[in-house]
Amino acid sequence: MEIGSIYEAAGPFGDAEAAYRTAALLDAAKPLEEAQRWEDAEVLYRQALQSGSPKQRRFALKKIEELAAIRDSFWQEQVVPTWDASLKALLSTGLLVVYVALFVLLGTLLRSIFRKKHRDRLAIGDFGSMNGGRQPGDSFGETLKFLHERMTAHYRRRIIVGETGKMPVLLDASPSDFLDLITEATDSLVPFGEWLARVTHQPGYAISGWTEPTPQSIKIFARLQHNGKTVHQWLRIYRLRDWFGSEQDLAYEVLLRLKEYTDVHAA
């Protein structure tokens, strides 16, 4: 600016105008340099190099050399990009951790709520054959469910009979209407729906097991559990021709054990 004023006073107004312009460029480059926008600052210094007074050109050249030194330095070459990348990765990982933590927390909370809500509920497994395919014994789960219905009717509270104990209510393994609704809305929600169905399925009582048929006999294993702990288990082998007669007897034995166990715990 000072040089521009000298030119202006002496009469060469063209030189004065160029000096003013270059001074403006140098002023504009300074904040860019402070903001570490090295390339933008260098462009302005190069423009000043072409149009400024000798003093201004010397100043611009000096600045260009300084900027080149900075840009070539190890810090700017290696550390800063690495730091930026790490920061981005850290941020993404942090977000992921937060998401996972939220899901774990939500899962734990839902499990706890539904475990309490379903503490008197019963789940009956499907007793599918270990050999795969449709085999005798596959229907044992259905037989258990049928007898459970009979026993529920039997032990229902009646006025003339009064309270005679209760059978745990059967917990439906299929997802609820609400889950059906959200999974039907969009395919992307299917995994979420499955996860929700899994965490909310928390029966207090469970009867599970398997069957293993051979051409002559059928081996059956059934386990009664309460809150994950085994109350009783059965491992029986029946001749195939006796199985159809014994299936309901075994189902009754299992459910009666459950009834007696719940009576003691209710008392």
Partner: protein, 351 residues
């Protein structure tokens, strides 16, 4: 023989489940044939497993429902201490079966059993059922053993006890919601139990007022005309209570007999022959449909006919009632014979 509450025999269990379904159907339809089916299944179940407590217990209840309280009492007495889980229930049903025998001795035993349940049962709904049974037993106890030698003091005392019990029941059933919210019950009552208790309470109140009206002029020391007027007014309230019970639970044979008895009293107090015919219609329905051949209903029909002046038909009814075995009659031989004698003498007085 040591009883087991549950059976290991699935077939016995299935038979008892079928029997319970028949009992449920009886309660809905009042079709006594269902009780026969239930009884048949229970007999088979006790053969399959003679130690199956529930089979014997339900068999006793079916006996009582079928009008065989004597057999029910015998079975229930044997079962009384066989299952710690159901002791109070068994005792309550023993009280009910004793009540259904209607004699003064049996009523005293019923009162004893109901009192026991009231003090020992933890289930509030069972306590209330016992209290309702107690109200009925008190009311029934108001009938003097000999109609011409009533113990007025005792009638007044049992009337007060019956009405007091009914008031307590209604107070409990109609407890306001803030009270129920502040003192929630550990064993909340289901609606069908509440209906049953309400029915019993209305029936008991109806009976208590009806039997009180019989000796009201003597108890309250009233002259003939005002005495008769008060008797009619009291019988009217009794009829209203019994009609209320009918509205709650329709076609119960015991309540129908009581409705007929209340109509008979009103007919007598107001000298309304139409009401006598209404009485006869109600009793005929019990004898033909609700409890076929029920001796007490035949006896009561005889009484209505005697008051109506149809003494010959009345005597036929009393003879028919006496032909029924005493354990199924629900009315003593002495009482029927006395009524027959009054009919023979063309006596039209009441009670």
């Amino acid at each position: 023989m040591s009883m087991q509450l549950e059976t290991r025999n699935r077939e016995a269990f299935e038979l008892v489940t079928d029997a319970l379904e028949f009992i449920d159907r009886y309660r809905k339809t009042r079709d006594v044939a269902r009780l026969g089916e239930a009884s048949n299944r229970l007999a088979q179940a006790t053969k399959k497993d003679p130690c199956y407590f529930r089979a014997w217990y339900y068999d006793a209840l079916v006996d009582d429902l079928s009008g065989r309280p004597q057999q029910a009492v015998e079975k229930l007495k044997q079962l009384l201490n066989q299952s710690s889980l159901l002791t109070d229930e068994v005792r309550y049903n023993l009280g009910l079966a004793e009540y259904h025998r209607y004699s003064h001795d049996a009523l005293r035993r019923a009162i004893h059993e109901f009192m026991h349940v009231l003090t020992s049962a933890k289930d509030r709904s069972l306590q209330l059922r016992a209290q309702a049974g107690l109200a009925q037993a008190y009311a029934m106890h108001m009938i003097p053993q000999e109609h011409d030698k009533p113990n007025l003091e005792q009638i007044q005392q049992y009337h007060n006890l019956a009405i007091g019990s009914v008031s307590q029941i209604f107070q409990e059933l109609e407890a306001s919601w803030p009270r129920r919210l502040l003192r929630p019950s550990k064993s909340p009552m289901d609606s069908s139990t509440a209906v049953e208790i309400r029915w019993t309470a209305h029936n008991a109140k109806g009976m208590a007022l009806m039997y009180y009206s019989d000796y009201l002029p003597q108890i309250e020391d009233l002259e003939d005309a005002p005495g008769r007027k008060r008797q009619a007014a009291t019988a009217e309230v009794a009829l209203s209570e019994l009609t209320h019970a009918e509205a709650i639970q329709a076609r119960d044979w015991a309540n129908w007999c009581d409705l007929a008895s209340a109509q008979m009293r009103l007919a007598y107090y107001r000298s309304e022959s139409d009401r006598f015919h209404k009485t006869l219609e109600l009793l005929q329905y019990v004898i033909e449909q609700l409890r076929p051949g029920y001796a007490f209903a035949i006896y009561e029909k005889g009484r209505a006919l005697r008051l109506l002046g149809e003494h010959k038909k009345a005597i036929e009814c009393f003879n028919a009632a006496l032909a029924v075995p005493p354990d199924q009659r629900d009315v003593s031989e002495r009482r029927v014979t006395a009524e027959r004698q009054r009919a023979a003498l063309q006596d039209k007085s009441f009670p």
